[in-house]
Amino acid sequence: MSGLLPEDVSLAVPDIALGLALLTAAGCALIPRSRLALAAGFLSLGALTALVWLRLDSVDVGLAEAGLGGGILGALLVWLAIRSPHSPAPDSAETISTTQPTSGTRRTSRPILNPRTLLGCAAGAVLGGGLCLVWFQVLHALPAWSEPLEEQMETTGVTHEITGVLLAFRAYDTLLESAVLMLAGVAVMALGRDGGLHQLSLPQPEVPSALRWLVRLCAPVLLLAGLWLLFAGSSDSGGAFQSGAVLCSLLILLRTAHALPSRERTEPWIRPLLIGGVVVFILAGLVGPLLADPLLSEAWLSWQPQWATAAVLSVEILLTIGIAVGLFLMYLTLENPEGVQ
């Protein structure tokens, strides 16, 4: 096992610096009390993690982290944090009788070192130490799929390995995962007020013209970036999830600049777009077994070589739209909390 410190320390400096920055960002996302500080901490953590993925030479994951983790999640959490910046957690609200005015005294000065936290940190240290110990002595076996990956790559219809894995080799995982996102969208619609689209019918607060002008400038760029990411995915890093995130941020920008069409025209489209990706994915998977020459000869989710690329691409497009709509639905339900007009 090569030791932690490689011979030439200078080479390791960017890693160590990045690692420490990551730790501080994580601390800043965990320790503070006020919600705004938490949201800010989380945003920085998202950005730094994207950098770490890039540092580990995984551009796809970096893009996904930046788009989904840092971007969309950041938007969701910021709206939550704005609503009441000083963590009016229901239980901490109970500790103070609700009758007295809830001004600045809301911030309970709980000692950091109460027994519960100490016990938690101690247990955490033990678990962390154990995990690190195991990392040191665990024999890192090489994954057994490098060779079969190369050979069967061309049957997938795409050249970029990660997209090949996502949409061919482990297409089943991606299908279930996009179903998770779709059902999250369905759940948000079920839980949100009046089908989650309550915000759409609300007239929004005025937006300064400078912002509106800026949005009008960025929108086409974002659209182009999203589409490029989607189509580049088959040959270079990119893909359905990254472009879905970008398209969702496009929708959010249009929403803030009142550029989205009225509720009557958007509502009928929301549900079909949300479920389109999953339905087409399953039907395409069903084509293999049902339409093969001797019935049921092909396995599920197997793409015939001749139309593999077409199938993968159409599925990818609809998945992207589904992801964008799903994330936008979540954003809509959280937008404009009652506290802030």
Partner: protein, 529 residues
């Protein structure tokens, strides 16, 4: 690709397709689609069952790509049994939700429930570790959403359930990473062979097992981590609580069984005498004994707390916490399965691994019996709460007179939960007890006896007041009738019909008692020993 292989993936993807399509439909059509999908799943499940009963393990490489790269679905005896449980209980509860839409809480019930069902089936047939993680997540998310359909007071429990589910899954994910690092493959069967061959990888395997077990036990609400389950299962709508208690927590149990018996090289780590392995086998036995101890604690404390409940649904939820404990009692047996006690005795000459197979089929029978009985009991309790507006045991006194069929089904389900004869609960306890006697683990017998008596206590405490007929004077009758009418807008005929699913589950609890021989034979298919 035979029909069994087709139905292996079909049983996951077709309900997912139906769930997606249901989003577009109106609430009445969704119920019809739900029932059709339920029947379809029963059909597919019988195809898999027939193939497995014929002794063959059904395997399907998805997309035609072989194991380490692609995902392989596998259905052996254990998965066939759990598939049948989810098919039977799912169909009956879907029928109940279709008959009484108010019990489903919200039209969003159907797409979420069908998604949850496909997630359950995905976990039961998955042969790949990461795929199991994604299946567990699908089940977790839809379960949280289903709980949240219960209205204002069920949002907080749903959120707490969400945090626990995600934390459990992420611990499981780290465990999967560890096994991947140790075995180099994600497929369970290959990982098991790989781990058995490389003794140096046993350290990582044992640590991964600890992490994954803690993660899954969080999702299963074993004793010390059970507080999130009570408000979630009690607060959920009438048709959702049976699904949570009977099916959703079974997914995590299934994965634990798969890990402990099919993936982990148990015999390799326990017999090896070399220094390193010695430390490992003590770690493994320590983990098994802690989980077994928590199981015993859950059975006793869970039942005692259930005795102190004054509302029906929390009482049934605590009963779930108690019954979860039963499924972990066999773990200590796993590690020293020799039938020590039977050398001298002239009696039953047990096959050498009969203790292990007896203990396992006992726990599986207990889990299946609990599934059917608990679903019936929760359906009945939910219906009573729906019709009478409250589930306070005090204010439900004498409810039995107007719903005799409901009380009869609650009684039948109670038979299954207590473990009295002619029920899967009895068969499970019988197997577990015989294996415990053979392996001289007397503490299991004590826990079983105490558990049986305590569960009889709290179930009686819940059901007996319903039989009360203290002479209610006539004008009270109108008050009850009025309370009935406005409590649910459903027509009385529909209410009568809504009692039938609970009765069907009650009957099933008793009838499945005769299937013990079949279950034991089915468990043998693809068994690790």
């Amino acid at each position: 690709m035979t029909t069994a292989e087709f139905s292996l993936a079909g049983i996951v993807l077709l309900p997912l397709l139906a769930s997606a399509v249901a989003v577009l439909l109106g609430s009445r059509v969704r119920a019809v689609l739900g029932i059709l999908t339920a029947l379809l799943i029963c059909g597919l499940c019988t195809a898999v069952l027939i193939q497995t009963a014929a002794g063959g393990i059904t395997e399907l490489a998805l997309g035609g790509y072989e194991a380490p790269l692609g995902i392989r679905l596998r259905a052996d005896g254990l998965s066939a049994l759990f598939l049948c449980l989810s098919a039977v209980v799912g169909t009956v509860v879907s029928a109940h939700a279709a008959i009484l839409p108010a019990s489903a809480g919200h039209p969003g019930f159907w797409p979420l429930w069908l998604g949850c069902w496909s997630g359950l089936n995905a976990v039961f047939v998955s042969g790949d570790l990461f795929n199991t993680y994604v299946g567990l997540e699908l089940v977790g998310l839809t379960a949280v959403a289903l709980v949240a359909l219960g209205g204002r007071d069920s949002w907080m429990p749903a959120l707490r359930y969400l945090f626990v589910a995600v934390l459990g899954s992420l611990l499981f994910l780290v465990g999967v990473g560890l096994i991947l690092a140790a075995a180099g493959t994600l497929d369970m069967e290959q990982a098991a062979q790989q781990l058995a061959e490389t003794p140096e990888a046993h350290a990582a395997a044992v640590f991964a097992l600890c992490l994954m077990s803690v993660g899954l036990v969080l999702k299963l609400a074993l004793m010390p981590m059970h507080r999130w389950l009570i408000p979630a299962h009690a607060g959920a709508p009438g048709a959702v609580s049976p699904l949570l208690s009977a099916l959703v927590i079974k997914a995590a149990l299934f994965v634990i069984l798969r890990l402990w018996l099919w993936v982990m090289p148990l015999d390799a780590t326990t017999e090896a005498e070399t220094g390193l392995a010695e430390g490992l086998s003590t770690a493994l036995t320590a983990l098994a004994w802690t989980l077994g101890g928590f199981g015993a604690l859950a059975v006793i404390l869970g039942s005692v707390m259930a005795l102190r409940q004054d509302r029906l649904k929390p009482l049934v939820a605590y009963s779930t916490v108690a019954q979860v404990g039963y499924w972990f009692l066999f773990l200590p047996l796993l590690l020293d399965p020799e039938a020590g006690a039977l050398e001298g005795q002239p009696g039953t000459t047990l096959a050498e691994d009969a203790v292990l197979s007896g203990a396992l089929s006992g726990s599986v029978a207990l889990a299946l019996g609990h599934g059917v009985a608990k679903a019936g009991l929760f359906l009945a309790a939910g219906l009573l709460k729906e019709l009478w507006g409250t589930d306070e045991i005090e204010s439900l006194r004498g409810a039995g007179r107007r719903h005799p069929l409901l009380i009869l089904s609650m009684g039948l389900c109670a038979v299954g939960l207590i473990g009295l004869p002619i029920s899967l609960g009895f068969t499970g306890k019988w197997h577990l007890a015989t294996s415990a006697v053979a392996a001289e683990h007397w503490w299991i017998i004590a826990v079983l006896v105490l558990g049986t008596l305590l569960s009889a206590g709290y179930l009686l405490r819940g059901i007996a007041p319903l039989l009360l007929q203290d002479a209610k004077d006539p004008q009270d009758q109108e008050h009850d009738a009025a309370q009935d009418a406005d409590a649910s807008a459903e027509s009385p005929r529909r209410q009568r019909l809504a009692e039938v699913p609970a009765f069907v589950l009650g009957l099933l609890t008793v009838l499945t008692g005769f299937l013990a021989v079949g279950i034991d034979a089915l468990m043998g298919v693809g068994a690790p020993w």
